[in-house]
């Protein structure tokens, strides 16, 4: 990669430092069923990095989408450089110098890098394209940023880190006044991250205002000037970076003392219930992965977006194709390609992260959703005929235990909140004799109260001797709940941590490992058990 600090700064609009660039007051936005933003104030000065911090579902992405013109706010005032904006469209926002870099890439895999950069603002006249001019401009922008991507590469064939670079380059095609970076380092290496920070600093001195969305406290405390904390759609506070400690920030984010949020779980590991040995997936999302899960403990798997941590547990449950390796449940070898029903019968259940797409039938009642994975059991059917009364009794008891509110089993799941939906999903694990729980991002999009209940449920499951696998992108969650923690990086497990080794610095050091480590042995301090 070209040393970027040597390059000339990208073209930016000149603005005096400290000028108020963006001013938002009383912004509210409602989506069907949720108030995503509730009377939020936010402002940004030229030459400032303003961090947006909050849990998933706190309203960060709704806010940046409003600023980028993708959503219109339902209420509130939105001023950019002193001008009041109404009915802002993404295109108009870009012309005004508002450049968003989204985490969910706004890239078309079928188009090349250059075609993606210019999408929506192609050069040319009368509808015809000027290929030469676009190629030259694309080269110069990529060169200025110091990225090692070629304009004629197809975006669908690039790695996630390179796609991230295309996404960032896209923001620099026009004059930038306000840059939105949404988790920009989520798939970058340490060196690439340093390059990005150098770039951010150059932009700051050029008077660009930057909104920086991140989960990584240590990272944004280095680069941010102010931090605004959002929780459940409300602005909690805006603080100066450096004025608050890490644990204070976590408390602000969750609204709970760290000790209250995460229950103390007494892990009493006994026998190995699930053993994954040298498993490689057909699509290469996980390679030579080995881990084991014991009864009576929570085993965490942490890693960046796209590192394969979700795919590996899905593969265990038979949802991703396995190319090689063995999976054992209670020592019994499973088929090379297990099926969900087989795994359920062996007491393994998977709880998907995307509850709407994969977990629940939204139009059907709680009862049917809860019993869906157990209809083959005698409680629910005999000779393939459903036993509805027995089903009602069984599900009612489970729902009561899970504290679903209101505890009505005939309500359609679509009418429930995120937290209640998660409970319905979890109830599926109670309908049959499950001893291995595979949780994939179990607290995405649910409020703090529901989170605590999910954690409490995990605690009671572990106490009863279940084995839990917790796959999560929320670092505090995996850190505080896991007895042992595996770290995945680029499709491989790079570390197994336990005890005091489970801390943010240690985990992040594995997130950020360089590519050259990839094929080498893991560092001695955290060598794999196998």
């Amino acid at each position: 990669m070209i040393e970027s600090s040597q390059a000339t700064p990208p073209r930016t609009a000149q603005a005096a430092h400290g000028d108020l660039l963006l001013e938002m007051t009383g912004i509210s936005k409602r989506f069907p069923g949720v108030l995503a933003l509730n009377d939020v104030d936010f402002d940004l000065r030229a030459g400032e990095v303003h961090v947006l911090f909050g849990e998933n579902g706190a309203g960060k992405s709704t806010l940046i989408n409003i600023i980028a013109g993708a959503f219109a706010p339902d209420a509130g005032e939105f001023k950019f450089r002193g001008r009041s904006l109404v009915r802002l469209r993404p295109h108009a926002a870009r012309i005004m110098g508002i450049s968003p870099v989204f985490q969910e890439f706004s890239l078309v895999p079928e188009l090349t890098v250059e075609e993606n950069l210019f999408l929506g603002r192609e050069l040319g006249a009368a509808g015809f394209l000027n290929h030469a001019a676009m190629r030259a401009k694309a080269r110069s922008v990529i060169g200025e940023l110091g990225f090692d991507i070629l304009p004629d590469q197809k975006v669908g064939e690039l790695s996630r880190a390179h796609q991230q670079m295309v996404e960032i380059a896209k923001a620099f095609l026009t004059e930038v006044r306000l840059l939105i970076l949404d988790e920009p380092t989520a798939s970058l290496t340490e060196a690439e991250t340093q390059n990005l920070f150098a770039l951010v600093n150059r932009l700051k001195s050029a008077g660009v205002g930057i909104i920086y969305v991140s989960h990584r406290i240590q990272e944004f405390q280095k680069i941010g000037d102010r931090i605004t904390v959002l929780r459940d759609g409300r602005k909690i506070t805006t603080v100066k970076s450096g004025d608050v400690s890490e644990s204070e920030l976590v408390e602000l984010m969750t609204g709970r003392k760290v000790g209250v949020l995460f229950p103390s779980i007494a892990h009493r590991p006994t026998e190995k219930l699930l053993e994954v040995d040298d498993v490689t997936l057909a699509d290469g999302m996980a390679r030579n992965v080995s881990f084991y899960v014991r009864a009576g403990e929570i085993t965490g798997i942490a890693g960046l977006v796209g590192c394969g941590k979700s795919e590996i547990v899905r593969a265990v449950y038979g949802l991703e194709a396995v190319a090689a390796g063995t999976i054992r449940v209670r020592g019994e070898k499973m088929a090379v390609r297990p099926t969900p029903i087989e795994m359920l019968r062996h007491g393994v259940c998977y709880f998907p992260s995307d509850r709407v797409a994969e977990g629940l039938a939204l139009g059907r009642p709680v009862r049917e959703n809860a019993s869906m994975a157990a209809l083959d059991l005698p409680t629910f059917s005999q000779m393939r005929v459903l036993r509805r009364a027995s089903e009602r009794r069984a599900i009612q008891a489970i729902i009561h235990k899970l504290k679903l509110r209101p505890p009505q089993i005939e309500r359609t799941v679509g009418k429930l909140s995120g937290g209640n939906r998660q409970k319905v999903l979890l109830s599926r694990g109670m309908t049959r004799d499950i001893s291995v729980f595979l949780f994939d991002e179990p607290t995405v999009g649910i409020d703090v109260g529901a989170k605590i209940e999910v954690y409490e449920l995990m605690k009671s499951l572990v106490a009863e001797g279940a084995a839990i696998v917790l796959v999560s992108s929320e670092l505090p969650e995996v850190m505080n709940l896991s007895n042992r923690l595996y770290v995945m990086h680029r499709s491989q497990i790079v570390a197994e941590l336990s005890g005091t080794d489970i801390n943010e610095t240690e985990i992040l050091s594995h997130f950020f490992r360089e590519r050259r480590f990839e094929d080498g042995p893991a560092p001695a301090s955290s060598a794999m058990a196998t």
Partner: protein
Amino acid sequence: MMTKSMDHGGAAANAALDKFYRLYAAIGFLPIILLGLILVFAIFVPHFLVLPNVLNVLRSSSYLVILAVGQMLVLMVGGFDLSVGAVVALTSVSSALVMAGLKAQIPDHPALIVLAGVLAGLGCGFLVGLVNGLCVAFMSVSPFMVTLGTASIATGSALLLTNGIPVYGMPVGYVDGFGRGLWFKLPSAVYLAIAIVAVVFLLQNFTRMGRYIVAIGGNLQAAVVSGVPTRFYLVTAYVLCSVFASLSGLALTAQIGSGQAAINSQLTLESIAAAVIAGVSLKGGVGRVEMVALGALFLLILTNAMDLLTIDPRIQTIFLGVIVVLAVALDELSTRRTKRV
């Protein structure tokens, strides 16, 4: 299976495979298979490579080329159009009715009669395409249901207008000069098809619209946040598809010499088949017009050879179905093959 081949030190084999796939991506199997097919039929099928038959194949494939090119545009934006066959029928009936009606009133102005008839036909296509496009773009209705519905409306209207009886009485010049005419020794429809393929080729490779169509089908959300007027281009794709279907219907009607409500029930399926054979992805974002033209030619050559070999048309229908299912399955398999990084 990928790791296994690497274990056996198959780096060279992998490189060769890579090269093969790149070549496949650049030209595809289709031109090669097409050439092979022509060669085999020329040797084994009597009367295949004689001038009247070649002209016949070219003419009938032209109608399908025009239809399939439109279908490709809609497939590329991630939809599909089940109403093209019905649009052909409605165009046929309405243009013939207008011409026949005007012939009684202004028999001395054949040019005017033809113009009015053509406009009536194209108007029907435009209208159906507009309804399809608006419903898909603004009401987010599934393209499947919308176009199935408009297909039923168009077919019903065509039958109602004619009671199912063929409409005669189009100007002789239109039928003999355009429909059945040879221009510079080639059927007129061939020129129409070439013109449409050329226009769409320019559109795809040199204009904003071509790129936006890929973007909409490739990642709609990305297109929206990039400021692409997605709804406009969605509607445009559906309108172009229907208007192309109308053009095809006009040429076909002129060749038959009468407006018919039951013109060819297989056209919709054939148009989708031609596009899919040519590598157009049903998931959107992928498609090349020159390949689609070859896809249509491929289907027609097959049909023609089966005709010459006097294979039962009912068996041909089954065969068409098998080809469609195979092509779609291959499309699915090839996308699954692509490695994720």
